[in-house]
């Protein structure tokens, strides 16, 4: 199994032109554009803004109530809109919602649908590239944090994580920060498990 290595912006990945996400070709050679993990022709950024894709499930905060729908803050430079026609519920400003991106137009406006209001809770903002690690394979990581803290956690692909329920929200956030800063390392699941067990006894 090939080892992955940390690469820098401007670092050469291949001596020939290759199509690699987050990389560019110049003079027949391929270079990275970001700080990332590179291995076997695949480059994964270690940091970066949320890049929305259709079918992403996100956590958003309703920022404006309009006649035809809602403007939603989704931690993105581009506006997200939820049309009233797409949902049966009514939302208010400040409501947290879990929704799906159904379309992105040429102006980069995001269209949301499938939205449900989330119960009272708190918002944690996490680097969006780390969300897959926070969720874990088949939800393994997020399930572990939920059961250890007694909280319900909704992790949006956009980096917004909603923590609710009557559990220890503060501990849940600490666990998220730990996963966020070590997302690129091996053995993280075990370390998080040890951390959570230790905190429970305290």
């Amino acid at each position: 199994m090939a080892e992955s290595r940390i690469v820098m912006p401007g670092e050469m990945l291949a001596d020939r032109a290759e199509r690699i996400s987050y990389a560019y070709v110049d003079n027949g050679k391929t270079y990275s554009t970001v700080v990332g993990l590179y291995s076997e022709g695949k480059l994964v950024p270690l940091e970066g803004p949320y890049e929305p894709l259709p079918d992403d499930y996100i956590v958003g905060i309703v920022s404006e109530v309009k006649f035809s729908g809602y403007s939603v803050d989704v931690n993105c430079a581009y506006p997200a809109f939820l049309s009233s026609r797409e949902i049966r519920e009514r939302f208010e400003m400040g409501d947290a919602i879990f929704a799906k991106i159904i379309a992105i137009n040429e102006m980069r406006d995001l269209e949301l649908s499938d939205a449900k209001k989330l119960p009272a809770g708190a918002l944690a903002k996490v680097s969006s590239v780390k969300i897959p690690r926070i969720i874990g394979k088949k939800n393994s990581m997020i399930d572990m944090v939920q059961s250890a803290t007694g909280c319900q956690i909704f992790a949006g692909r956009n980096g917004y994580v909603w923590i609710c329920g009557t559990g220890n929200a503060s501990l849940a956030e600490e666990a998220l920060r730990m996963i966020e800063s070590q997302a690129h390392t091996h053995g993280l699941t075990d370390r998080v498990s040890v951390f959570l067990k230790g905190q429970k006894k305290a």
Binding site: M8, G10, E11, D26, T33, P49, A77, V129, E174
Partner: protein, 251 residues
């Protein structure tokens, strides 16, 4: 740069510079990435006695709207000195002509390498704050800002670094300190794209022959390789020694 006067100190004594450095030696440099909590990316640099903080936001909604471009992100850059940053009198808060010029040339250097077409209608903001100045702040500031941009995950063609060369005692030397900056015969800050050696920022004053220009350039290019390595080490440290907390530690 003021240039030598009658009362100028001797800048070369016994073949060495006043702080004992050789002509090709950089002052001590230390770079730490990811030191601020709110900014999307940040870096702190100590270069000689310079202490400089860089913070980056973006891409985010371009405000005001009328500044936005439909084709790319707008890059904004502000170089600012703290009133207590100089060794002499207490300075004023806020921009002056010099800091506005530096903000502009820095912005242009980064506009060249940031892949702004990826984020139309947005803005990317770069802020550098000079907490303590000791000659060569613009090069140190640019070097730190490049690390902050990488820390934020803003896609770039390359991570820039900058270094200045000077002419003292008739010879070209790298990285002028404060006195060399003030009393040297020429000052030339250059920012490089280390990948291909291309020049992204270039300023110069004083008097140089074409030979001296070439020598100075070679010195700067060689120094830039060392500086680039320090930037890379600072970024690697974020991932090799991960911390859950971000803070600035100066002592």
């Amino acid at each position: 740069m003021g240039g030598p006067t009658e009362n100028s100190p001797q800048l070369i004594v016994g073949g060495k510079r006043i702080d004992g450095r050789g002509m090709e030696d950089l002052r001590p440099i230390k770079i730490v990435a990811r030191v601020l909590n709110d900014a999307d990316g940040s870096a702190y640099i100590e270069w000689g006695k310079n202490k400089i903080l860089a913070g980056v936001y973006g891409p985010s909604e371009c405000i005001p709207r009328h500044d936005q471009s439909l084709y790319r992100a707008i890059v904004k850059c502000r170089y600012n000195m703290a009133p207590f940053s100089g060794a002499e009198e207490h300075g004023r808060s806020g921009p002056n002509r010099r800091s506005k010029e530096l903000s502009k040339v820095m912005r242009e250097a980064f506009e060249n390498v940031i892949i702004s077409e990826n984020y139309p209608k947005t803005q990317i903001e770069i802020y550098v704050e000079i907490l303590q100045s000791d000659g060569g702040t613009r090069c140190a500031a640019l070097t730190a800002a490049a690390v902050a941009l990488a820390d934020a995950g803003i896609p770039m063609k390359d991570m820039l670094c900058a270094v200045a060369v000077c002419k003292i005692g008739g010879k070209m030397a790298v990285d002028p300190g404060k006195e060399e900056d003030n009393f040297g015969e020429s000052d030339m800050p250059i920012a490089f794209s280390p990948r291909n050696g291309e020049i992204q920022l270039f300023q110069m004053d004083g008097l140089l022959t074409q030979d001296e220009l070439q020598q100075g350039f070679a010195l700067a290019k060689a120094a830039s390789t060392k500086i680039r390595q320090m930037q890379v080490d600072a970024i690697r440290k974020v991932y090799e020694e991960p911390k859950s907390e971000r803070f600035l530690l100066i002592k």
